[in-house]
Amino acid sequence: MKSFDEFLLVFKPQWREFQQSLYLFNRNHLQFASLMVVLLLVLIAIFAPWIAPYPTHILEETNVQDKLLAPSTQYWFGTDELGRDMFSRVLYGTRISLVTALIAVFISLCIRIPLGAVAGTLGGFVDEVIMRLTDIFLSFPPLLLSIAIAAFLGPSLQNAIAAIVISWWPWYTRLIRGQAVSIRERQFVRAALSIGTPRSKIIFNHVLPNTIAPVIVQASMDIGGVILTIAALSFLGLGAQAPTPEWGLLISTSRTYFLNAWWYSTFPGLAIIVTVLAFNLIGDGIREVLDPKTRKI
């Protein structure tokens, strides 16, 4: 059991490093703004049912006498073909997009990290097989594979997540493997090996914790792409199903009406853009701060 002082000793320099990076990151106004946007989106996602002006409009309830109304003070984003308040639905869509993206990124990390670590630590035949497998997956566009998999699994939000996980896991396995290979050669791992620590323990206790930092960076850059992919799958009818107010699905349903109801397709699209742009700017900023080539103090 480590004492608290010991913990501080290890943690303090890392905390200082983190503070410095945060300072560099926030010095760029655009990046600071996108960080604020993401925080706001997270708050919206958490409190969506309470801040939506018409919480009953989020799912099934219909209100047909108010159908396809243009934006007004009563309905900020107008209404859809069933008279539901678009503002409430787009607001609630934040929760769906953020949660599904986080789940998809998290599960694919759970596949990527151990595989990369195992390949990098063990080397040899296992390494060869895992890396050739990732080569195959990396050799074609992920959206295509997601579409094919989602099509075969049948349309639903869960299957869309599964499709994204299957087609996204290889993207950073290579990166983590590279990390693992370099950690394998470090003194403390050799020391552990020499006193007979089992391989599995070395992978999970020594190699994995040291690959976390680059993984977090990549994950933050992935979220925007995953949100876009989920929206695209839903747009094709392969993701969320009605009456879920998923942004891609909202845009897809709007196609019947949007020529006479511009607000129907416009607002969910803007929501996607704001969210994805904020995440991408953050990802770009983190990379610039952590990359020694572009880090300017």
Partner: protein, 336 residues
């Protein structure tokens, strides 16, 4: 060099095999009933049973897979479950319109993206550069399908100057006599000297072409910028400047030439992404291409068609990747 290409081609074949295995396994693992799909919704159980035997679905999966591979080796992709037409001939009809779109947007990416990147590199850290950086991150954040709808709203509904979708106007399509040579309507109509068809086809190309081009333009601009910035620090650029050559000439003819390698790689790779982006764009603009084809195949669970399109896209992607690698390898500074 030849050894390098051969090695990459071998890897391409392995990748293709992997893709076939993956799609085949997924298609068979999923509980769907292709035989029932084949005979239609009102078939009797006997008809379904007969179709199961006809399609070879009663045999063990490894036999089915072997047969599929054997047919594939001869270029036979099987039959569509919906139309009962050979997949290959359906692909032959849908690929040219898609290629027409992809070619146009790639041209746009090169014509607009490279100058944008050059200007942005010249004005590094000035307003124009910030705008261009925001633009290139912005376009990666845009949902392609949404841009299409917005363009339709503006140019069809609001301004009424461009058609909403399709490849040709209905009237022209019915009376058109343009022999198919390349499969690109714009090129074919020019070859036939039929300007009316040409301009009509061009008008229909604008919106979907623009929708697809947005992404590669941003990508190419970004790549050109960073490649150019790296090269502008080289000694030979300083030398050229010290001779008193005009800055425009230094940038556009001395520096740009050496930054084209990475840019060409990005162009080759972005064609692959563009190809998949057409899946979303074509369904919005009712473009009779491969994207529309796979979307309707997905909706109808037509798995031979889905596998067919996946294989075609993968082949294109592998070839484009290879092309990108070869472009890099032709640079004498790179050792393969």
């Amino acid at each position: 060099m030849i050894k390098f290409i051969l090695r990459r081609l071998m890897l391409g074949v392995i990748v293709l095999f992997g893709v076939v295995v993956i799609t085949f396994v997924i298609a068979r693992v999923v509980p769907s009933d292709p035989a029932a799909k084949w005979v239609g919704p009102r078939a009797t159980p006997e008809q379904i049973a007969k179709a199961t035997v006809d399609l070879g679905l009663d045999q063990p999966v490894y036999v089915q897979f072997w047969k599929y591979l054997a047919a594939l080796a001869q270029g036979d992709l099987g039959y569509s479950l919906r139309t009962h037409q050979p997949i290959l001939s359906e692909l032959e009809a849908t690929i040219p319109p898609t290629l027409e779109l992809v070619t146009l947007s790639t041209l746009a990416a090169v014509i607009a993206g490279i100058p944008l990147g050059v200007v942005s590199a010249q004005k590094k850290d000035q307003t124009l550069d910030h705008l261009s950086r925001l633009f290139s991150i912005g376009v990666v954040s845009l949902p392609t399908f949404w841009i299409g709808l917005v363009l339709q709203l503006i140019f069809f509904r609001l301004l009424d100057i461009l058609p909403m979708g399709g490849q040709l106007s209905m009237g022209i399509q019915l009376t058109m006599d343009v022999p198919t040579v390349t499969g690109f309507i714009t090129v074919d109509s020019l070859l036939a000297g039929n300007l009316e068809v040409f301009f009509d086809a061009l008008k229909h190309l604008v919106l979907p072409g623009f929708t697809i081009a947005v992404y590669p333009v941003g990508l190419v601009a970004r790549m050109t910028r960073s490649a150019l910035l790296e090269i502008m620090n080289e000694d030979y650029i300083t030398a050229a400047r010290s001779y008193g050559l005009p800055e425009t000439r230094v940038v556009w003819s001395y520096a740009l030439k050496n930054s084209l390698g990475p840019t060409a790689t990005v162009v080759a790779l972005s064609i692959g992404f563009t190809l998949v982006n057409t899946f979303l764009t074509e369904s919005i603009f009712a473009w009779p291409g491969i994207g529309n084809y796979i979307v309707s195949a997905v909706v109808g669970l037509d798995y031979p068609a889905i596998i067919g399109v996946t294989i075609f896209s993968t082949i294109s992607y592998v070839i484009l990747n290879l092309a990108a690698d070869i472009i890099v390898a032709t640079d004498p500074r790179v050792r393969v």
